[in-house]
């Protein structure tokens, strides 16, 4: 489609980014009868929800996505558009001489309840109630608050032998956090991978795009937004890289906080306290992904039959987690990095040639900026070698069957997905950056200091809790504002 002329008509909503949030918002807005345009930088929609063929015949989708809320899944009719999810098998911890499988525990159900409560709260337009710190018993506005000051190990206290490490490793997959520090229990509310989607995460992305298109939203790929222009104090139009202007009554940005405000606005246009607040918001990538093509199924000692269907934590150890976190803070690669293995081809055989296997390794505590400079080839090889050496200890002989390896380090995530500092979460998960403080503007919900601009990316309150939720919340707010006449 040719965009060389400015578009004279105005869209009701323009959405920056066709990732999970952008597509969900587009589908909901289009269903409500609005004219929606989604602008995506890449040639394909999906953002994080992509499946890459990193070697002929081997498909992997490295970036895990939190579960989609059920009502949203039903409303967007995703199952019929081809988004099929195989449920997650319980995790297991692998050691060279033993395998510890996850025992059923009420803790996970409790975490799920709190996550649902926090998600419900994120939808409420009411301002945050004043929390009184001097009350004899802290009356939490919603259950999640009582975990705001608890350390992960505190909450996991009382688990059986080996289960605490396994649960901590699952909660901190692909992240860097200190399990002994206050507030680390919040990671239990922000789950990582939710299971295996048929065709990888790309299957989910394609279903979301199909749902959005079926509802009538326009998806324009290959167009990059370079600026948001304001008119009389409100966001009025988007400028594309080639100079085209797209006018809209409201704009939803699904980029993270820093990328939205610090790269799409001139800093002089924003109030200085807002710029300072956004600058102080901590966004730092910590996850790297290794995609490994294997010629044969790996074998582990004394393995149960369904071992490869589970997410596998490699030798989880609390002390090593603390050391790895400290190393990450210093910009150094720790000796023993937390590793999680997933063999998605054991659930969906279409992801690898028959008889072969695909392994996705999620590596946590990988700094975006190393203390001694950029990510050179030597550093990448070092990281790859460390990870594969650790895996060899639990899967002897795996190295011999490796056909291809690809490393996606935080700078690559930044380049691929436009995530600041390679942080998929769009901001550290800490008590002062969650719920009402995520991103912490005066008006709660998707509202920003710029009138007419809604934030729905990973830096929003609902984003770490569920996929697509932030986009749905922004869409609902936009529709409500439109119907109430608050948007011109």
């Amino acid at each position: 489609m040719c965009w060389s002329e400015s578009v004279a008509e105005r869209y009701d909503a323009a959405i920056i980014g066709a990732g999970a949030d952008g597509l969900a918002a587009a589908a909901l807005l289009a269903r409500a009868g609005l004219r929606v345009m989604v602008l995506e930088r890449h040639g394909e929609p999906g953002g994080r929800l992509v499946t890459r063929q990193f070697h002929p015949g081997y498909f992997a989708s490295p970036f895990a996505a939190a579960p989609i809320p059920d009502p949203l899944f039903w409303a967007l009719d995703l199952a019929r558009h081809g988004a099929l999810l195989a449920p997650t098998a319980p995790a297991a911890a692998l050691w060279p001489d033993r395998i510890v499988t996850s025992a059923p525990t009420p803790l996970l159900a409790e975490a799920e309840r709190r996550r649902a409560a926090a998600l419900a709260h994120a939808r409420l337009p009411a301002p945050v109630p004043r929390w009184n710190p001097f009350a004899r018993r802290v009356r939490a506005a919603w259950p999640a608050e009582s975990w705001t000051h608890r350390a992960l190990v505190e909450v996991l206290d009382g688990q059986e032998e080996g289960q605490a490490e396994l649960l901590a490793a699952c909660a901190l997959e692909g992240r860097a956090a200190d399990p002994l520090a206050a507030g680390s229990a919040l990671h239990l509310l922000a789950p990582g991978g939710a299971g295996v989607w048929r065709g990888g995460l790309g299957g989910l992305g394609a279903a979301l795009a199909a749902s959005a298109r079926a509802a009538g939203a326009e998806l324009a790929c290959g167009l990059e937004v370079s600026e948001i222009k304001c008119q009389s104090g409100r966001a009025a139009s988007l400028t594309l890289a080639d100079g085209t202007q797209i006018a809209a009554r409201a704009i939803i940005s699904t980029l993270d906080l820093k990328r939205t405000f610090l790269s799409l606005f001139a800093w002089s246009e924003l109030p200085p306290p807002v710029v300072k607040q956004i600058g102080n918001f901590r966004i730092a990538g910590a996850g790297a992904y290794l995609l490994v093509a294997l010629g044969a199924q790996p074998q582990a000692k004394n393995a149960p039959a369904d071992l490869l269907r589970r997410p596998l934590q490699v030798m989880p150890d609390l002390r090593r987690m603390v050391e790895a976190h400290a190393a990450w803070r210093g910009g150094v690669l720790a000796e023993h990095l937390p590793l999680t293995l997933r063999f998605e081809s054991s659930v969906d055989p279409g992801l690898a040639p028959i008889g072969a296997a695909v392994m996705t390794v999620t590596i946590g505590c990988v700094p975006h900026t190393l203390f001694d400079g950029v990510w050179t080839h030597e550093k990448r090889d070092l990281l790859t070698a460390r990870a594969l050496a650790a895996i060899e200890q639990v899967f002897p002989g795996l190295a011999a069957s490796i056909v291809a390896v690809e490393l996606i380090a935080p700078p690559d995530i930044e380049a691929l997905l436009g995530a600041t500092a390679g942080d998929l979460q769009g901001g550290e998960i800490a008590p002062d950056q969650m719920f009402a403080f995520r991103p912490g503007f005066a008006r709660p919900g998707p509202y920003t200091p710029v009138e007419g601009l809604y934030l729905a990316g990973p830096s929003s309150a609902a984003a770490p809790l569920a996929t697509c939720a932030a986009g749905a919340i922004a869409a609902e707010a936009l529709i409500a504002d439109l119907r109430a006449g608050r948007l011109k």
Partner: protein, 371 residues
Amino acid sequence: MIRATPFHARTAEANRDNLWTMRNRFTLPAQFGEPAAEATAARFGVVMADISWRWRVMLEGARTRELVQRLFTRDAAALNPGQALKALWLSDGGGVRGAGVVARHGRQSFQLVAAAEDAAWISSAAALFGVTARDVTEEEAGLALIGPYAGKLVAALGLDAALEPLALRKFLWRNLEVTLSRFGEQGGYELWCKSEDATLLWDRVARAGEAFANLPAGQIAMDTLDLEAGVPRPGRDYDGAIAADVAEPLAGELRLAALIDAEHLGFNGRSAAMAARPNRRLVGLALDSSVPAPFTPVLANGAVVGRTLSSLYSPLLRRAIALAQLDEAHAAAGTRLTLTLPAARDVLLPTVTAASVVDLPFLAPPDSIPP
């Protein structure tokens, strides 16, 4: 008298939580591990399910062609050997007595495969024509392979997977006499062998299936696939007409009217069936809940407008689904209705949930990757 299928030794071993159920007086695993994993595996890879409990009867004799033309609502006599069709058989009053697959094995030899027994009716009908009706359920074991990779698995086993739907072929396969057929609704394959060869067949399939993410599927997973495909089964969702002159249930109320061939003359109960005017319809109900509600009244504004039949949680749709018979007026897709969930241990007060009417099938059957 309760019976075990020929695969019992293998299914008992694989039945992790020792949960069993019963069909046709056979003990079957309800689930081997997680029913959600089994149901989704049927759409991701391939599952193997024990279907030896299906009632099979061989009809043989000089006048078998006349018998099948009289019994079944479609003309099975027009089949060639090696072909099959799905049909119903009705009572005199036009009520559905049973549904199944009629396969022609030879010139005078037909086989009926059904989910529920109706031995007395079939045998007495056969006696009227001098045909022998031989129950072969316990002589043969059956294994269903369902999923996108079913064809590839069959090919990997060394069998010729090029078989059309509703066809069957016999092979001598590595010293085993097996029949490969495609009777099921899910687009998969079935392998039948002699009862004494059952465990050998299971082992061969399990070994070859590892490369295709094969899982054994229990009855809950199989019923979930049925519900997602919108297929009601006799014995589970409805009872066949109990007496000769009963007119219930109507084929039109069970979405089975397609199995009645209006051109086919002379089948039992034809006039009553043609004259029937059903005022209810079988539709799908998608509940806003993960708790299933089987055989529950469905309400619109407080008035009862129908009831659900069987109901299960569908892991792929992420909600509980049900087959429901609703009055025509409320059976349009998208209608919002309410029903009360069944009592549970951790629920103090009865929960009312909303549900949406959905045109069947909920999900198209799993696509098939060519072998």
